[in-house]
């Protein structure tokens, strides 16, 4: 099976090279058969990558301990669930997995648009094949997951060794989130290849209009959604497994996942300027180019250990390959831009400070500043070593100082932007849209201040969250009221109806609402508390309203580890028993590592987070470390809302279906007939 897998990978590389070369030839000659054969080579590449991935999965499930990668990341006792996760738990497998996910996207794109956009698709195919060639080169020659254990024997033969058992999976990775976090994040990373390929293709082909934006909107949304979920799952994993009481430590790899998210979010917003007003064309093209390059950089940071981090593997030559690839991508993008930059001429100018355009402009500006700050902070050790010879790192204070104000500004724009009109907004509409929410937020701020909330950023964040939530709710309420007046259904049913009529706009509002919830959760971090104590049996630790009582410490062997856990009784308000918590430490025999299992009692108000922190050096007593983290649950809830909102934006508009079915009857004046079906609210100033 290992031979089958590596052969499939080699053949995939051959096919990808054909798809690239044949594609270029097809563009030159415009021969339809050549176009078709290049496309089919692209499809074949994907099919072969699927086969190679399947054979690696098979090797894991058949406990093939002669394959180096299987030995390093699995053992016989490993459960089925984690044998799948073992696929992407190391260098070689992750890179194959990258190719696999990319192949899923490429396959869908090539298949979905096989008979459409004939002018554009050959270019897209060529760009995609180019990216695939890079990853397949790594899969084949630099980090092959199919290497077998063995040594050359006499007579040119090769003796294969088979080990009795594998080394097992890193215990830190044996956690459910670790099974779904990497696929999500990687789906985000790879997904941005699609808008990148279309943007570059449109530029190379001088493809007229904004068609590439319409074509890629859904792909971008999907990639963005995966990335958001991936980042949040990673944060949740860090929170629940690493046991330091937080979810975000500005670790290089965390930052690496955030960077393309920032530019990707900027891109999602600024393409609307191009769609509606024909502006920001150069900007958009470069945003999507940068997003793709940051995805590659993210993979580089994760895989090469350029900067030390939780995830970084031993420093290896693989970094040079990535740097080389980044250089090639940058050169190709620059060349395409220089050659065809006249094609990207803007059709309009900015009119007013208080307009939808300028809100997008500022949104983009601060997302980009944030991206640059995070990027330079992450790479600071590398750059400072080049420039001054000493390696200097910057820590959390640097990142927080810049990004907290940026987050709040963004939150403000989230509330304001969608309600501003294109071109210029009248004072009247400002009053109508923002009067009540502003008063509401200010009043709430005053109440909170009176109640003793003095933390500046948290206070501002609370007010902004309420402001944004109020503007969004008002939007739903107004729209739903109009529908209710006509149809007589309940307000809730009218709101659902409203959403299905303009999924893009109202789905967007739902995503914004999810971001508000996430910000509520982040604001709680200012009030985190923790306490640590050496515990004798029967002694207690007080934190906030909770009292922790250590009842016993026990130890029991499990399938592939020994668990040592504390039995802690939690009491609230003095001595009212509430529940039991079992913070745990696991010792894995196969690789002599240990892992922490944090016990969390989570409510909407706060998380009680209890860690068995090891034994005290002085007297060998077990140490308990308890954290009280307010509002953390809101972050995860917000994530769920963001996903739901994104799904809504991907649904087709019901209005469009109605308009289409109505169109044939009234061909000469479709607009007039469509009008009554359109809720009047969508025609108002400032909406689309």
């Amino acid at each position: 099976m290992d031979v089958f897998g590596s052969f499939a990978l080699l053949l995939a590389l051959v096919c990808a090279v054909y798809a690239l070369v044949g594609g270029i030839a097809a563009i030159r000659t415009r021969h339809p058969l050549l176009v078709k054969s290049a496309r089919q080579a692209g499809l074949a590449t994907c099919g072969l990558i699927f086969l190679a991935t399947a054979s690696l999965v098979y090797l894991f499930f058949s406990d093939s301990f002669w394959v180096a990668y299987v030995v390093a990341h699995s053992n016989r006792d490993l459960s089925t669930f984690y044998k799948i996760a073992a696929l992407w738990s190391g260098q070689e497998g992750s890179l194959l997995f990258w190719s696999f996910l990319l192949a899923v996207y490429v396959f869908s794109v090539l298949l979905a648009y096989r008979n459409k956009n004939g002018e554009l698709m050959p270019y897209v195919g060529v760009v995609l094949a180019g990216v695939q060639i890079f990853f397949l080169t790594l899969n084949n020659f630099v980090a092959s997951p199919f290497k077998v254990l063995g040594a050359p024997a006499a007579g040119g033969a090769f003796d294969v060794f088979t080990r009795a058992d594998g080394n097992g999976l890193n215990p830190l990775l044996q956690y459910p989130e670790m099974v779904i976090h990497p696929p999500n994040l990687y789906s985000g990373y790879t997904g941005f290849t699609i808008p990148f390929a279309f943007a570059l293709a449109a530029l190379l082909a001088r493809y007229p209009g904004e068609k590439w934006i319409h074509l890629t909107r859904k792909w971008t949304m999907i990639a963005w959604c995966f990335q958001t979920v991936g980042i949040l799952l990673g944060a949740h994993w860090a929170y629940a497994v690493l046991g330091w009481g937080g979810y975000w430590g500005w670790d290089p790899v965390e930052n690496a996942s955030l960077l393309p998210w920032l530019t990707g979010t900027a891109f999602l917003h600024s393409v609307m300027m191009q769609e509606k007003r024909g502006m920001m064309k150069v900007w958009n093209v470069w945003l999507v180019f940068s997003t793709f390059m940051l995805c590659i950089l993210g993979t580089l940071l994760t895989r090469s250990g350029v900067v030390s981090s939780v995830h970084a593997f031993a420093q290896s030559s693989i970094g040079n390959w990535f740097v080389g690839f980044l250089a090639v991508v940058l050169l190709v993008c620059l060349a395409a831009y220089v050659k065809n930059r006249d094609y990207l001429k803007s059709e309009n100018q900015l009119d007013s400070m208080v307009s939808r355009e300028s809100s997008f402009l500022f949104n983009n500006l601060i997302l980009l500043v944030s991206c640059i700050a995070v990027l330079s902070g992450t790479l600071f050790p590398v750059f400072s070593e080049w420039l001054s010879g000493s390696r200097i790192s910057v820590g959390a204070p640097f990142f927080n100082k810049v990004n907290i104000p940026i987050g709040l500004l963004l939150l403000f724009l989230t509330g304001v932007g969608p309600l501003l009109a294109w071109r210029k907004t009248s004072t009247d509409s400002l009053k109508r849209n923002f009067g009540w929410p502003l008063m509401f937020a200010l009043a709430a701020g005053l109440v909170a201040f009176a109640a003793g909330l003095r933390e500046f950023y948290s206070l501002v964040c609370l007010m902004l969250c309420l402001f944004v939530a109020a503007t969004i709710s008002m939007e739903f309420f107004r729209g739903a009221k109009v529908i209710r007046a006509r149809s007589g259904t309940s307000l809730l049913a009218s709101a659902v109806e409203l959403t299905t009529r303009n999924t893009r706009r109202y789905g967007g509002y739902i995503v914004h609402m999810g971001m508000v919830l996430i910000f509520v959760g982040l604001a709680g971090a200012a009030f985190n508390r923790d306490a640590q104590k050496e515990m004798q049996l029967g002694s207690t630790l007080k934190i906030g309203p909770y009292t922790l009582l250590l009842q016993s410490v026990d130890s029991k062997p499990e399938k592939n580890y020994t668990s040592e856990r504390m039995v802690v009784e939690v009491m609230r308000g003095g001595n009212k028993p509430l529940m039991m918590l079992y913070p745990e430490r696991r010792f894995f025999q196969t690789n002599e590592q240990s892992g922490t299992m944090v016990a969390i009692y989570s409510t909407l108000r706060e998380d009680l987070y209890v860690v068995y922190a090891g034994q005290s050096p002085d007297n060998q007593l077990p140490v308990i470390h308890a954290y009280l983290n307010p509002l953390v649950k809101w972050i995860w809830l917000g994530g769920v809302v963001v996903v739901l909102g994104t799904i809504v934006t991907l649904l087709p508009n019901r209005r469009a279906v109605l308009a289409l079915s109505a169109a044939p009857k009234a061909a000469p004046v479709p607009a007039a007939l469509a009008q009554p079906l359109t809720p009047s609210v969508t025609l108002r100033e400032g909406h689309d």
Partner: protein
């Protein structure tokens, strides 16, 4: 002509808005940089540091000298070796040391130099040398490693 003036005026407004935002954020970044910059050094470089460089926050990597770990009340003393040199370290942080912190493990300490030339560490990360893929070159943990589960390090947020 008036139209052109209008255009310039609009441009100027945006330019002012943008530079205020970027300037303010740049200033914050500079503050954060000053507050959190940490210099990476090897053990051999420490005695050669002069003047202001001695007062910086430092991060040093090395191997825990076998038999040197002494657990005292309130602190843990040990000796860190690397490149043929060694330095005494006092760990004064509040978190328990990670399980991976044993004789001969690779450790990464963050803190500052004391007057007597010893190192006062607030954070210690450690990893068991044999269990991870080896980094090329003589052990420089900062560049190579996986942060172990129980590292005694905490970040804000």
């Amino acid at each position: 002509m008036r139209k052109w003036g209008n255009f310039v005026q609009k441009r100027a407004k945006f330019a002012v808005g943008i530079s205020v935002i970027v300037g303010a954020l740049g200033f914050l970044a500079w503050l954060g940089y000053g507050e959190s910059k940490t210099y990476y050094h090897t053990i051999a470089e420490l005695p050669t540091l002069q003047g202001a460089a001695r007062t910086h926050r430092l991060r040093v990597g090395g191997t825990v000298s076998p038999g040197s770990i002494r657990r005292l009340s309130g602190r843990v003393d040990f000796v860190l070796e690397g490149e043929g040199k060694s330095i005494p370290v006092s760990y004064v942080g509040s978190d328990p040391l990670p399980d991976t912190f044993v004789d001969k493990s690779q450790a990464l300490v963050e803190g500052s130099l004391a007057r007597n030339g010893s190192f006062v560490a607030e954070h210690v990360q450690a990893k068991c040398a044999s269990k991870y893929e080896a980094a090329p070159g003589s052990g420089a943990p900062p560049a190579s490693g996986e942060k172990p589960a129980g590292s005694a390090q905490r970040s804000t947020m």
